[in-house]
């Protein structure tokens, strides 16, 4: 079987700290896979490596059956055609909401639809500094969803959103995935996000993938942890 996104024996160091120690991951076309693990385990790093924003110190990364990063090859992020929601949003301070989307796409109809779906229509002329945290996050998501791409990377996309908004945004993401036949990689701290969206969840530990589970299996483990009897 050929995979749409593969990471094979990928290593990444930041200074003296080795974050990824020979990580391997295969993602099928059209799959939504979650990345779960403690802070500093390398989740965002994996997304950055897939996007081409970081270069691996070893191993190989392929997208769409083409090697995009290895010892001899490196394809820049501009050429990988991925779309991404950043953990710290990465909004452009001088552009309004609408300008963010117009910068990414010329499709006015699509922009209008995305704005409506994410409840940003009335805020389309505002600058990022005039928005709340949740609104800014929605702009970051809207920007990612305006770019037609078959690989979507989401780095904690719901951290500022309330429950209702989360549901709304998740629906929008599912629509996007369906329309573009996208393969999605999502980082989150919430198990429920994985349940709602993901086909599988990869759990990171010690710089590698320790196991890959279905979201429900992960939920059961969580329940076991939370409802265990406290040690005396």
């Amino acid at each position: 079987m050929s995979y749409y996104i593969t990471l094979h024996d990928v290593r990444k160091k930041f200074g003296k700290i080795e974050v990824l120690k020979g990580l391997s991951l295969n993602v099928k076309k059209g799959e939504i896979i979650g990345l779960f693990g403690p802070s500093g385990s390398g989740k965002s790093t994996i997304l950055n490596l897939i996007a081409g924003l970081e270069r691996p110190d070893g191993g190989r990364i392929t997208l769409r059956n083409t090697t995009v990063a290895s010892d001899n090859v490196f394809v820049s992020p501009e050429e990988r055609n991925v779309s991404m929601v950043f953990q710290d949003l990465g909004l452009w301070p001088h552009m309004t909401v609408e300008e963010h989307l117009k910068f990414v796409s010329d499709d006015r109809r699509l922009i209008s639809v995305v704005l409506k779906q994410l409840g940003l229509e009335k805020k389309k002329d505002r600058l990022p500094e005039e928005l709340s945290g949740g609104e800014r996050q929605r702009v970051s998501i809207a920007r990612a969803l305006t770019k037609p791409s078959d690989i979507l990377l989401l780095d904690e996309p719901f951290s500022f959103l309330d429950l209702k908004l989360r549901e709304r945004v998740k629906k929008t993401i599912k629509d996007y995935k369906k329309k573009n036949e996208s393969t999605v990689v999502i980082v989150s701290h919430s198990v429920f996000d994985f349940i709602d969206l993901c086909d599988r969840v990869a759990i990171l530990k010690d710089g590698k993938i320790s196991k890959i589970e279905k979201p429900r299996e992960l939920l059961l483990e969580f329940q076991k942890f939370y409802y265990r009897k406290p040690k005396r």
């Binding site: 996007a51 924003l53 992020p77 779309s83 710290d88 909004l91 920007r143």
Partner: protein, 511 residues
């Protein structure tokens, strides 16, 4: 346009503009045969460089330069703080007034003071103003040049203060109000250091003012090698320590400018001045304005006999040439520095290092280098040598101004630009430039003023038949045609001021 194409074009441009002329020139110093001539060459070099007198002059000049830079920094820092962190009336007017001294070239600034202090008989006829102050000493040099250069420090440090947003201030208020300066100064470090270096570079470019004040400086020594001994080789030897110092400036600047900064906060409303701050700030501003602006402008007005129009009309062609060149150079240099900082950021260390080579290189030496090179390729007599000369002289300054501003282009911003880019040029114009636009305008204006007042490169590189206003003014000054000089000085101040007023009226300068 692919960013790879742009990067390649930039590297070729830098090679053509800078590397080629300098390499060609310095190759001429290498002895053609490896024989005893090499030993003589080395012996001469060592003997010359280790001349006690020269070393003494260098040390003295360096000390003077550091003093000027420090003093400018202090005088510029105080108004910068108040302009960015306090609200008060006529803020924009005060800001503009404090900038005007920079529009007056240093030699004209000193010329006005010499007139004021009775050295030309202007105020000596008013007996009570006949002050017998001896200004022909190093203290006077520090005083005059600091007053001349402080506006650059002031405006540049203001840019740094603007990056201190509520995001930074609010936690300070909560956790430790006394920690304000500790945190602020750290964030201001790139701006402070670069202000210091820019002023130091401006000092080392200045050889007319020290000679007016009868002070022998290192740059005068270089000038003498060309003007008296016509020894380009010795002049180049003497330039080497300055080139080495330029490279040190480059390394330190890069290290310091790695600090990431915030985008200015438009919603920030500074508090009003409290009583004791009012007393201090207003007194300080009045004193500085009197010394750096009122006195020179009064002398110009008096010496011009209020005839500003006629000298301007007589030199209108020359004025126009100067404005055209200065505009072209300020735009191209500022634009080029931004393109370099954005596209060559991964190869910053090497390429930008190279670009600082000419930061402290005296303009007469640079002029000779370029004349020699362009003569060899038969392109002297065109405007190309002058454009090249101005670009490579002022490009390091523009890079220094822009480097801290690029701290606003955080990794997150950069990442999102790369992911959503629809072409690197579009990203550059639509995203990057708007973020650094304050630094961009600052560089534009400052380079324009520096270029407008520059004479020695123009002297060596202008095609025959053209003249610049700075050359004309220097000539008039030395003929003793003080009235024309004073009138033209007023024009060079009031025309940009009028333009700025129009801009401020339409756009409104916030904060």
């Amino acid at each position: 346009m692919e960013s790879r194409t742009i990067k390649a074009s930039l590297i070729i441009l830098i090679a053509l503009l800078l590397v080629l002329p300098l390499t060609y020139f310095f190759l001429q110093f290498i002895p053609q045969r490896i024989d005893y001539q090499v030993l003589i060459f080395l012996y001469e070099f060592v003997k010359f460089v280790y001349n006690k007198r020269i070393l003494k002059v260098f040390a003295k000049t360096f000390f003077l330069g550091v003093s000027v830079s420090l003093f400018s920094l202090i005088v510029g820092f105080i108004p910068a703080y108040f302009l960015e962190f306090r609200s008060f009336r006529l803020k924009n007017f005060i800001r503009a007034s404090l900038f005007i001294p920079f529009l007056i070239p240093p030699y004209l600034f000193v010329f006005s003071w010499l007139g004021f202090l009775g050295k030309r008989g202007l105020f000596s006829q008013i007996h009570f103003l006949n002050l017998s102050i001896d200004i022909y000493n190093p203290l006077a040099l520090i005083f005059f040049l600091s007053l001349s250069f402080f506006p650059v420090s002031m405006l540049f440090i203001s840019l740094g203060f603007r990056n201190i947003t509520k995001k930074i201030l609010n936690p300070i208020k909560i956790f430790n109000e006394k920690g304000f300066w500790k945190i602020t100064l750290l964030l201001l470090k790139p701006y402070l250091l670069i202000s210091f270096f820019v002023t130091l570079s401006l000092f080392f470019s200045e050889y007319i003012v020290p000679s007016y004040l009868r002070i022998n400086t290192y740059q005068s020594e270089i000038f003498v090698q060309l003007a008296t001994f016509y020894d380009v080789r010795k002049a180049s030897f003497l330039t080497l320590p300055l080139v080495i110092f330029s490279l040190i400036v480059a390394i330190l600047s890069f290290k310091v400018c790695k600090i990431k900064t915030e985008i200015p906060d438009k919603k920030f409303v500074p508090p009003h001045l409290i009583r004791r701050e009012k007393v201090f700030f207003y007194s300080f501003t009045v004193i500085v304005l009197v010394l750096s602006l009122i006195i020179p402008l009064s002398v110009f007005l008096a010496e011009s006999k209020l005839d500003v129009l006629n000298p301007l009309l007589e030199t209108k062609g020359i004025f126009f040439t100067s404005v055209l060149f200065s505009t072209l150079i300020s735009f191209s240099t500022t634009f080029l520095s931004n393109v370099i900082l954005f596209y060559l950021r991964s190869s910053q260390k090497f390429v930008n290092f190279l670009l600082f080579f000419t930061l402290l290189m005296p303009t007469p030496v640079l002029g000779v280098v370029l004349t020699t090179f362009f003569s060899a390729i038969k392109l002297n007599g065109t405007v190309l040598p002058l454009i090249d000369g101005y670009v490579i002289k002022f490009l390091p300054f523009s890079l220094l101004f822009m480097m801290p501003e690029y701290g606003k282009v955080t990794k997150s911003l950069e990442s999102s630009i790369r992911i959503f880019s629809r072409g690197s040029l579009i990203s550059f114009f639509k995203i990057v430039l708007p973020i650094v636009k304050e630094g961009f305008f600052f560089s534009l204006i400052t380079i324009f003023i520096l270029c407008f007042g520059e004479a020695s490169l123009a002297q060596l590189l202008l095609p025959p038949g053209l003249q610049t206003i700075s050359l004309r003014m220097e000539t008039l000054l030395h003929y003793g045609n003080y009235q024309a000089v004073a009138s033209l000085s007023l024009s060079t101040v009031f025309i940009p001021l009028a333009l700025y007023s129009l801009y401020a009226l339409f756009k409104g300068v916030k904060r």
